[in-house]
Structures are given as structure tokens and as C-alpha cells.
Assembly symmetry: C2
Homo-oligomer: 339 residues x 2
């Protein structure tokens, strides 16, 4: 297989010391439309993750919710070799994923000894194993958004290049057997639109939620090679609420009938939506604006056309949750030419 | 002082066994306008926390993210005596709060021995000390919303009555010295409107975010009695993003100038907004619809007119974060006639 890493079109590598000169002028159009960064150079076309001209005027940058900072930590030494970042809601799951990757890449040392880099805070957990960073992001768009802002600044301060991001998570499926893995084609909002609305200074800005198609196709190929569980590419709906927002009948509040619920879910199904989760719009939008290749891989825990409650036995749920992990681990091994 | 508990107007207590007959018809108008529940009885005016006619048709209710359920746990025995529920973002902080309340109420046993009732999941942490429940909710509206749905169902299944809810948290202040405690008068959104927009089956429903004025005034009185730190009543803005959404210049993305940021914050200040956080719109809206008396008490960690980064020393931040806890502990002691 041809490595995706070789397809990024980067002719020269970023020089660590030149971060002061690397910021290009920021226009809202580039934040919205993800215009490819073009520098004033005939030879260097480089990635520029952060999109903020103010950062280079700061003497210190405290990544408050990660409990890291540019004066208190040597971020290039700690994180400079990162090539893959995997994010997921649960801290325990992201620790397990880091241990799994440690074993899978046959890294030296004991996988049980990896420590939480964010251990001074309980907002997020972060583990590093070789070139892979595994971070939890909690539940919902605001929670993952805080983590992504600080992660992207971390990658910038650490002078990371050619980084790929993966969201591995759980979801409710629409018309799929539980346990199916959905690799996201388009992320859509509650109105089935492929966009993310961000309020900035009291004004609504709309951003595209397009993900990297090459990564999605490569991940599907990985699943075919593993042939261990059903995997499809489809659209993913991201909502801001688990109960009313996803048409569940079992919340503390519910004002609609089962027929109205099913009508909504069937409309979603007709729009190509295969699963529903709560973080992928802002994940896709921020990665796109920040020139980070990204993919969303979520397993379905139930078929929402058949019910709302997650009553599958715990051990089956645990196995389901490992499926996106297997897929991403296989992808990473191929990227690193270890297979 | 006259106890607020005596002001609820409840003439007869809810009979535990009659939950099957207690659901009144649900109309969207009652969900939106929080119409007081009137039963077909001349004598009983009772609280009805859940607003969902489907719940009583369910054989089992699995509170998935709390790792509790009606078949696996005896919820009335575990939680039936709850009178005060305190929620906050950080799991560690809510554990500390539970230990603090344990000491403050002089309950028997060792405060260090209290265990996380949700220990089978890392989504939320929950501690019970006497009549007080302390729960973490993570960051952002979607995260607290999931917890509130399951908490309110828990209170319903456990046949709790006369429960008061408190959100104790951290926030950015506007024009206040760091460390000031803000008891929320009105919760407003990013457009300074006292409302919460909830998407239900692809349609936007608007709910009031009015909180209990009696609790706010009583909490201010408690602060006067303690006279340990500055406390005010003011409006609180709730945003869905910590960086761009709160006008910060130090995120991974920023497309506005310091002048534009200050213009927005000054407009907020003119609208009576004293602090900014990320959960209170949905907290106020859900409590109001579900007939739960509620208050929001947040300490300010910085003055946003002077900066964006939280660079205050750790020990000072820890002391600031204890201030809302002291206030609520004092309030609870007064309610229990322990002072």
C-alpha cells in the first residue's frame, strides 16, 4: 500500500525554530472555507495547525484544562514525535487504547506503566505511546472543543507535523445491527446539514464538517483486511443532547410519541445517516480549519429503530467498544510500515 | 429564619406506591412554560419531577451513564432521603465537596471512606452523604444535560420530594476581582437572552432559564453571615465554547481583535452579566420544567476584561473553588436547622 503520509505534498519540513515567522494573516474566510495555507515561498508548502495571530505575542501559553504549559513543560521534547492522535469520550477507554497500541506496536516497557500526562487535572486524560497520543474528551461538543483547542496548540508548540486525528467512539445506529462500525463520510447536524455552527462574539459562523476521504477509504480497507466485524462508510449525525435531541422516549423529559420519533429517525436514515453521536461536528470542523487530516470511527451500541435503552450485556459492550480501536491500530501499523 | 422547605406549599406527601397513577398528561406548553402541576385532587398539590408519559410503560429503566437501574438497584432505599443535590464539573471537586459536607454536617463514619456510587463508569462520579448528593457533570451543556436527565429520573424512581439543586462551579468574571462568588439571577445565552434552545426531533424549542429567586436571596444572606469572601447576585452567561465562544484571544482559532473582544465583553457587562460559564442554561431550564428549585453559584477565576489565561497559582485557585462549597454547606445547615 502507498502510505498516506507520502501524499501530503509537503516538500520541506517545518524548521522548529521558526515558529515566530510561521503565522500567516488570518481571515475569517480561511477559517470558514479552510483555504489551503500558501506561504510566501516558492518551495515550502507547510501545514499550519493553529489559526490565531495572537498566539505568538504570548510570553507563555497555559493549556489550562490539560495542565500543561509552554514555560512549565518542554512540549517539543515531550510531544514532537507525535504522528497519530486518537480521541474518545471515556478516560478509561483511552487508557485501554493506549495500552492496546503499546502492545500492538510492540513498544519496549510495560503497557501497564503508562501514566496519565494530565494527571494533575481530572478534566481530561492523556497517554503517549511512541508516536501515538490517546486523549479523552468527555461528552458533547463543548467538552471536546476545549480539548481540541488545547491539543492543537500543543501540536503547534511541539512543532508536530503530518499528524492524523481519529475520533473513536460509541454511537446509536439507525437500521444497523449493534456492533457495526461506522466510518464517517459526512458529519451532519440535527437538521441533517453538513456544517457546524460556532458562535463567535455573539455572531453565528458556519463551518464545513468535511473529513478526509482518503483516511476513511483506507480505514474501510483495514476493516476488510481484518474481517472481524461489520464496517461501513456512512453519514453521522451529531446532536447536542442524548435524550430529546436524539428522539429518545426514555429521558426525564419527552413530549413526543413513538410515531413522531420513528418518523424523525426514518428521515435521518433517508438522508444517509447511519449513526448518531455527540462530538463529531466540531471535531471535523476544527480539524478541517486547522489543516489536520481526520477521521471519525464509531461503533453502534444499539439500533435506534428498535429501542432507546442500552441494555446489551456489559461484556458485549466492551467488545463492541474495542472494534474502532482494532481498526485504528491496524491503520497505524500500516502507516508505520509495520505490516 | 423560616426554612424554605416549609414554603413549598405541599399539603400531603407523595405516597411511594402510587407512581403508576402520578403522571399527568404532558403538553409541550407545560414543558415550555413550566405550568404548575395541578392534580385531580382538592387536597394534594405535589411535585412531579419527570415530564415523560412513556416512563411508566417501561419494565426497567437503565440510567446508562450513571451505571444504575431500576431492576439492578433499590433506588428508593439508596436515594429516598435526598433533599439537596449539588452538581459541579470536576469529579475530584465533587468528591471533596462530599467529604466537606460530611464533616460539616458531623455525620458518623470517616469522610475519606465515601465511595463513588457510579464507580462502574467514568462518565460521572456520585457521592451521597446523608441527605446530600454530590455529582460531577463534566464540561458543557450536552454533558450536564445527560446527567440531569438521569438524575431527575433517579429522584423520580427513588420517590424523592422537596429536593433543591445547586450548581457549584467556576467561571470567568466580567469586571469583578477574581475570587468573587456570583449567585445567578438570570441565566442568559451567548446573545444575552434568558432562554435555552433545545432541538427536539429537528425543531428548536425555547425554554425559560429562570431560577428560584428565594434560594438566590437566601444564599446571599448566607454569604453575609459568613463574611469570608465577596458575593454578589448577577446575571450569568452560558456559552457552548470556552475559546471563540467566550471571546478568548488564546485558542487554537481566533479571527477577532482585542478591541472586538472587549467590545463584546463590555456589551455583556452592560446587560448585567457578571460571569461566563458553560452549563447553566440547560441546568436552569431543565430544573424549571421539572419543578425543581435550583440555584447556580460560581466563583470567578479571573477578570476577563483583563485577560484570558488562568495563571493564578494552584493553591489560590483551590481556595477560590471552595467558596461556593462553603456557601452551599452553610445554606444546607440552615435548612436542616443545624445552625
Amino acid at each position: 500500500m502507498e502510505s498516506i503520509l507520502s501524499l501530503t505534498g509537503i516538500k520541506e519540513r517545518f524548521v522548529q525554530g521558526d515558529s515566530k515567522t510561521s503565522i500567516r494573516p488570518i481571515f475569517e474566510s480561511s477559517l470558514m472555507a479552510n483555504t489551503a495555507p500558501i506561504l510566501h515561498s516558492d518551495y515550502i508548502e507547510k501545514e499550519q495547525y493553529v489559526q490565531n495571530p495572537h498566539l505568538d505575542n504570548m510570553e507563555e501559553d497555559i493549556l489550562y484544562h490539560l495542565n500543561l504549559g509552554t514555560k512549565t513543560h518542554n512540549l517539543p521534547a515531550m510531544f514532537g514525535d507525535i504522528k497519530f492522535v486518537c480521541v474518545g469520550g471515556s478516560a478509561n477507554r483511552m487508557r485501554s487504547f493506549a495500552q492496546f497500541i503499546h502492545q500492538h506496536l510492540e513498544l519496549p516497557g510495560n503497557a501497564d506503566d503508562i501514566r496519565d500526562i494530565c494527571e494533575g487535572t481530572d478534566r481530561y486524560s492523556m497517554y503517549k505511546v511512541g508516536p501515538v497520543l490517546s486523549i479523552s474528551h468527555g461528552m458533547g461538543v463543548p467538552s471536546i472543543s476545549i480539548m481540541l483547542h488545547e491539543l492543537i496548540k500543543l501540536l503547534y508548540h511541539a512543532h508536530c507535523r503530518d499528524v492524523m486525528l481519529f475520533r473513536i467512539g460509541t454511537s446509536g445506529g439507525i437500521g444497523l445491527p449493534p456492533g457495526t462500525v461506522v466510518i464517517t463520510d459526512k458529519v451532519v447536524d440535527s437538521f441533517f446539514r453538513p456544517q457546524f455552527e460556532q458562535v463567535v462574539l455573539g455572531k453565528v459562523i458556519t463551518r464545513s464538517t468535511e473529513l478526509d476521504k482518503g483516511m476513511a477509504e483506507e480505514l474501510l480497507l483495514c476493516s476488510n483486511e481484518l474481517s472481524s466485524f461489520p464496517t461501513i462508510i456512512g453519514n453521522t449525525m451529531c446532536t447536542h443532547d442524548f435524550y430529546e435531541g436524539q428522539g429518545r422516549l426514555d429521558g426525564a423529559l419527552c413530549s413526543f410519541s413513538i410515531e413522531e420519533k420513528l418518523e424523525y429517525l426514518k428521515k435521518a436514515h433517508e438522508a444517509g445517516i447511519k449513526n448518531i453521536e455527540m462530538e463529531s461536528t466540531v471535531f471535523a470542523a476544527m480539524c478541517r480549519v486547522c489543516n489536520l487530516k481526520a477521521a471519525v470511527i464509531c461503533v453502534t451500541l444499539l439500533n435506534r429503530l428498535e429501542g432507546d435503552q442500552i441494555s446489551t450485556p456489559h461484556d458485549v459492550l466492551v467488545e463492541y467498544q474495542q472494534r474502532p480501536q482494532y481498526l485504528v491500530a491496524h491503520f497505524i501499523k500500516k502507516q508505520l510500515a509495520l505490516i
